[in-house]
Structure formats: structure tokens, C-alpha cells
Symmetry: none
Subunit: 223 residues, 2 copies
Amino acid sequence: MIKVLVIEDHEEIRDLISYNLSKENCETICFDNANEGLIHLENNDVDIILLDLMLPGLKGMQFLQIVRNNKKFSGVPIIIISAKNTEQDIINGLEMGADDYLTKPFSIKILIAKINAILRRNPAIKSKVISINGINIDTGNYTVTVDGEDVSLTNKEYELLLMLLKHPKRVFTRNQILNAVWGYESDVYTRTVDTHVSSLRKKLGDRGSFIKSVPKIGYRADI
Amino acid sequence: MIKVLVIEDHEEIRDLISYNLSKENCETICFDNANEGLIHLENNDVDIILLDLMLPGLKGMQFLQIVRNNKKFSGVPIIIISAKNTEQDIINGLEMGADDYLTKPFSIKILIAKINAILRRNPAIKSKVISINGINIDTGNYTVTVDGEDVSLTNKEYELLLMLLKHPKRVFTRNQILNAVWGYESDVYTRTVDTHVSSLRKKLGDRGSFIKSVPKIGYRADI
DNA sequence: AACTAATGTCAAAGAAATGTAAAATTATTG
DNA sequence: CAATAATTTTACATTTCTTTGACATTAGTT
């Protein structure tokens, strides 16, 4: 059963989503505000979030930011469903870390298709464990082992490792890494990434050498 | 490397754009007038154009019209960046064929987001993989394989190979190559190109022989 | 064939980018 | 609020890439 957290202040829309998703092997938990949604998220297992932006109290974008900046939840996919329909709204939403953006009015069939597509595309979300090349990341417990040995990583190191290992072989620019791990607002030098790569490699020991620098570009997990 | 042609008569804005895009895997070529921009477009590979409207000489809208009426360039996305900010201005720009319209003052971050969004959406440019004659370039990941074997290229070698293979058969002069790969500012001897061609051929092994020198002119990918 | 002019290649020098330790700063925690 | 940990910056070491210049080779000309 897929657990869907719905944050939406219009009752009719909540009901529409609930009713239709219940027929698709989904369990929906609905809130009319983001604060309660956040509390739920902190205490429960959630597979995907459907988020309205214009909410009373905590705004949708703030919620998005909080969730994406929290290592515990950052892997949970979020689909924004909003009446804010300018391209800029959409870009903002996607850049803030949403996985998809639906503008109201929306087709419930498309919504279902998108939920399925996102969950299909991202098996890591279901398993919550990434195992590759002797390195094991349990995204549920935020623990990392290398060849069975526990390794203690700092937050930034962890996020960096996760980013690289979620997409092995893919090259990330230092700025992409900064945006993803440090956030869009951050103004740290790009070389800070190098420092963290360095300490990450060190902590991973012999196994750390899979993190390859790509001169003039950035880094990649070469596995 | 995404090639961005910037046509903008204010130096500060050109510099702002150049500086920020250079950190985003973009290479910017700037002109303070549309005439030179057009000449550049005719002789070089351009992925996206950022266009100011109020220019000395050839006006931005005229440039837009010329580009959109030319089959050769009509696929190149154009983002207008203009101080003309009435609804009618924007509608005009978009109706004339611009892909997007940013009003000054603009946020550089939104500009970057829009460039990414447009290029992501545009399948012609998105063609992330070039496969030809046993050589495979993944432009997203900067990886090159020859007959399935990974080949490690330096940045210059990679850009050079990409340029040649994007337009097979086409002859490039050493100066065109220098401009495209090294950039306009560079003051490197033209023979440097030869050195890189040499090492590129070597790294590509038997397959490397498709890079033919065209005596007195330059090089071409003869495939 | 000899000559000329171009391209091909190599290796050393130079430039630029990355690696890393340690100091400085900032955040977190008891 | 002190102590501790995490993060960022600095500075320097190291590595890698780029450019050059010398010489070799090839192609074209007379």
C-alpha cells in the first residue's frame, strides 16, 4: 500500500484525490494545512506527498523547503498541485525540489499516472537502502557502512555521498552539488565542495576512491 | 558545455550574465550589437540566445525576425531580456518567436532556471548522446566510449571532439575551433589545436582516423 | 628529386585545477 | 555558557592539463 500525504486546504479536492487514489492501492492521509502535515511526516512513513502551495499558515513553499532541507525526508517525492500556474511558479517549485508540478484544474488520471511514474522511476524510495560497491546507505536510519563497518558522516558528507550514489556515473558540477546539498540560497565558495569530498574520501577509506574528480566540471561516482 | 550567445549593449549586464553562467557549465559569447551576433550565429554553434531589445543598429526585434525566418537557426531558443515590460511588449516578443521573456531588472537565478528549463524541454539540444562510428558521447556526463570502452578525455579534447562530431563533414578552421573551444579571449597559437587533435586521435585509437586535416584550412570529422 | 610548406608528434615548461591539513568560524549540545 | 562538533576558509602541496617549441613526417610544387 502506497502511503500518500495530501496537504490541501480545499475539502472537495482532498475528497476527490482520496476517493480516486483509494482505488489505486493508495492510502491517503489528508491535512488542510502544512503544519499538521509536517508533524505527520515526522512521525509516520510516507511514500509521496501531494502539496498545495496557497495554504493558511505555513505556506507550501516553506513546507517544501523544510522537507528538502531535512535529511530524513529529503528523499520523499513531492508533487505540487497548485493554482499558481506561471512558468516561474513552476520553475520555482521544481527548483525548490518538487518532483513534479500540476496546475489546477488538473486531471485525476494524470495525477495517478504521475504518482506511479515517480515511484516507478525511483526504486530507492521504496527500498530506502542504497548498496553499492561495499558502501551501504540506509536512508531510513541515516546510517552508512563500508564493508560492514559503521562510518560516521557529518550531514554534508552524508548528503554529498547520497547525491553521488543516487546517480552513479553521472557528473555533477560543483554548483549543482552546492544547490542540492547546501541549498539555493547558500553563498559558500565552490571549493568548499572539494573540502567535503576530501573528507568523505578519507572516511570511506580505500573505498572512497570511487569519487572521481572531473577536471573543470565537478565530481562523479565512478562505479 | 552549453553555448550561450548574449546580445546586450550594457556591459555590466553582459558581465553579470557571463560571470554567473560560467559557473553553470555554460560558455557565453557576448556582443553589444545584433549585427555581430548574427555573424557569429552564422559561423558558430549556438545552443541558446539571450537577446536585449533596445540595441544600437539592428534592433532586437529585427534580429528575432531574421533568426526566426531562417530555417537554419529557427530551432535555436531565444530568451528576450528587456526593460520593455508592458504586457504588450511581452506578448509581442513571444509572438515573434521568443521562447521566453524576462523583464529587467531580472534575477540571474531565474534566468539560469529558465535556460535549464528550456534546454531540458528542447529535445534537439537535449540529445544527450551522440553516437557515431563507434564513438559515443554522453553530453550530460562528459563520458566518451569508443567501441564500448571508456576513454578518458581532458576538457579541451572533449570539447574539440564534440564540436567536430556535432557537424560531421563540416570543415572548421583552426580559428573557429579556437573560438568555440578556447573562447574568444584566448590568445593561444593556432598550432595548439593541432596538438590537441593529435592527442585526441591517439586516445581514440583506430577510430581516431576519422579526424581529417584539411590542408591550409583546418579539420573535419570525415564520417 | 629537391624544395617548400604544411601537419604530426613528443616532451619539457608553464598554468591551472584539485587535494588536503589546519586554522578560523559557526552551530550544536550538554 | 563552555565544550564539542561541524563547517568554511585559507594556504600550500600535489596532480593534471595545456601550451609551447623542437623536430619529424607528409604532401604538394616546381
